[in-house]
C-alpha cells in the first residue's frame, strides 16, 4: 500500500508511538487504580465510611468527604505513608489516566521533531500549549 499519509512510513511511526503511549498509559493507570481498589476493599473499607459513598448518591451533595484527595501533595503524602493509603493509590491511577492523552501529544511532538516534520511539530506544540493553558485557566476545554 503506497498511499500518502497512510499508516506506514514516517506517519506510521508517529501513530505507532502515540498508540503505544496511550495503550501502556491506560494499562499502567488501570493497574495502579486496581491495586488501590483491591487494597481498599481488602481493608473492609468498601462497606465502611472512609469515602462516604452515600454523600455522593441520592443526588446529595453534603460536602466533599475528607478522604477524597484534591491536591497532588495530599496524594504524595498518602503514598509516602506505610501502609500506603489505598485511596491515594486509586487517585494516583486516575491522575495517571488523565495525564495519558497529554503525554500522547508530547510523544507526537517529539516524534514529529525527530522526523523533521515542522508543520506538525508546530501544531502539536500549539495543542500542548493550549492544553497547559486550559489546565491553568479553566475546566471548560472538554
Amino acid at each position: 500500500m503506497s498511499v500518502p499519509g497512510a499508516s506506514e512510513g514516517p506517519s506510521g511511526l508517529v501513530e505507532r508511538r502515540v498508540g503505544r503511549v496511550l495503550f501502556w498509559g491506560g494499562v499502567l493507570s488501570v493497574a495502579i487504580t486496581l491495586l488501590g481498589f483491591v487494597l481498599y476493599a481488602a481493608h473492609g473499607e468498601l462497606s465502611g465510611q472512609t469515602l462516604h459513598l452515600e454523600r455522593a448518591t441520592q443526588h446529595r451533595q453534603e460536602g466533599r468527604p475528607a478522604a477524597v484527595f484534591v491536591s497532588a501533595r495530599d496524594v504524595v503524602n498518602g503514598l509516602a505513608r506505610w501502609p500506603v493509603d489505598p485511596v491515594a493509590l486509586m487517585t494516583l491511577g486516575l491522575l495517571a489516566l488523565a495525564a495519558t492523552p497529554a503525554v500522547g501529544v508530547l510523544t507526537a511532538l517529539v516524534t514529529f521533531v525527530a522526523l523533521g516534520d515542522r508543520d506538525y511539530a508546530v501544531i502539536a506544540a500549539i495543542v500542548l500549549g493550549a492544553l497547559l493553558l486550559g489546565f491553568f485557566v479553566s475546566g471548560g476545554a472538554g
Binding site: L22, A99, S138, G140
Partner: protein, 290 residues
C-alpha cells in the same frame, strides 16, 4: 440500613453495577466517537442517584478512558488519523479557551438554541448520507493537500483499502472552533460535533471520523480533568469502576467497530444527535428535560 441517607444499594453492589454499566457505555462510546459524558452522566444520575458533580467528574475520566482504550487500537489499524486529529484539536482547544473566557458575557440560552438548530440540520444531513458507505471523489482542497489531511485504512467489512482525503477544511476547522467555544461556555463535551464536522463537512469516512474523534476527545478532556480533581468531583468509588469498565468496554467496542459498515455506525449515531438537538433546543427555550 438504618441510616435513611444511605444509598439504597450496598456499596459493593453499587460499585459492581456502575462497573457493568460503564462497560456498555465504553462499547458505545468507542464506536460512536463520543466521550461517554453524554451516556455516563444521565446513567449515573438517573439510575444510580449520583450527584451531578460526581457524575461529571466520573464522566471526564470515562472520556479519557474511552479515548485511551480505543485510540491505541484505532491508531494501529489506521482508522484514527493523528494529523487530522491534531489539526482539528487546535481549533477545539483554542475555541474552548475563548468560550471559557466568554462565560457570563454572552447569553447561553440563545447559543443553546442556535446549537440545537445546527444539530438538527446535522441530523438531517447525516440522515441524507445514510446510504453513502464511503465518500466518493471529493473536491480538492489546497489546505487538505498542504497539511496532508488524508489517509487510508483497510476496511475489514468491505474487504478493501479505503483511501480518503479531507475537503472543506476551513469549514471543518471553523465548526470545530465553534464547537470548542460552546464546550468552553457550556461545559459540554464535543465528541458529537467533532464527528459531524469530519463526516458531514470534511467528508471523511464515518469510521475514520468516529475513530479520530476518539483520539481528540481524550486530549481535550485531559485539560479539564485537573479542574474536576481540584474541585473534589472525582470520587474514587465512582470514578474507579467507571474508568475500569469504560476501558474494557472501549476495547471491545474497537473490535466491533472495525467489523461494522459505515452506514451502521451512522445509523447508531443518528438518534444520539437527534436527542442532543432536542435537548439543546428545549434548553434554549428555557425548558429542562429533567
Amino acid at each position: 440500613m438504618s441510616d435513611p441517607s444511605q444509598s439504597a444499594m450496598p456499596p459493593a453492589v453499587f460499585v459492581a453495577a456502575i462497573f457493568l454499566t460503564s462497560v456498555g457505555a465504553g462499547v458505545v462510546g468507542a464506536i460512536l466517537g463520543l466521550g461517554g459524558g453524554i451516556l455516563i452522566v444521565p446513567l449515573l444520575t438517573t439510575f444510580y442517584g449520583v450527584h451531578m458533580h460526581y457524575a461529571m467528574g466520573a464522566s471526564i475520566i470515562s472520556v479519557i478512558a474511552t479515548s485511551s482504550g480505543a485510540a491505541a487500537a484505532y491508531l494501529e489499524t489506521g482508522l484514527s488519523n493523528i494529523r487530522v486529529g491534531l489539526f482539528l484539536v487546535m481549533a477545539t482547544t483554542s475555541g474552548a479557551l475563548c468560550g471559557a473566557a466568554l462565560v457570563g458575557v454572552v447569553p447561553v440560552r440563545g447559543l443553546e438554541l442556535i446549537l440545537g438548530l445546527a444539530l438538527s440540520y446535522s441530523a438531517f444531513a447525516t440522515f441524507r448520507q445514510l446510504a453513502i458507505e464511503v465518500p466518493g471523489d471529493v473536491p480538492v482542497d489546497p489546505l487538505a493537500y498542504r497539511f496532508r489531511l488524508q489517509g487510508a485504512y483497510e476496511d475489514i467489512r468491505l474487504r478493501r483499502v479505503v483511501v480518503y482525503r479531507a475537503t472543506r477544511v476551513k469549514a471543518g476547522f471553523s465548526a470545530m472552533f465553534g464547537a470548542g467555544v460552546l464546550s468552553g461556555l457550556l461545559g459540554i463535551g464535543s465528541g458529537a460535533f467533532k464527528v459531524l464536522a469530519m463526516d458531514t463537512l470534511m467528508r471523511l469516512p464515518m469510521k475514520v471520523s468516529t475513530a479520530t474523534s476518539n483520539f481528540m476527545i481524550g486530549i481535550t478532556a485531559s485539560a479539564s480533568a485537573g479542574v474536576y480533581f481540584t474541585r473534589g468531583d472525582i470520587h474514587p468509588l465512582i470514578a474507579v469502576p467507571v474508568a475500569l469498565g469504560v476501558l474494557i468496554g472501549a476495547s471491545l467496542g474497537t473490535a466491533l467497530m472495525t467489523r461494522m459498515r459505515n452506514r451502521t455506525v451512522r445509523m447508531l449515531f443518528l438518534p444520539v444527535i437527534a436527542y442532543l438537538a432536542l435537548t439543546m433546543i428545549l434548553r434554549g427555550l428555557g425548558i429542562e428535560l429533567r
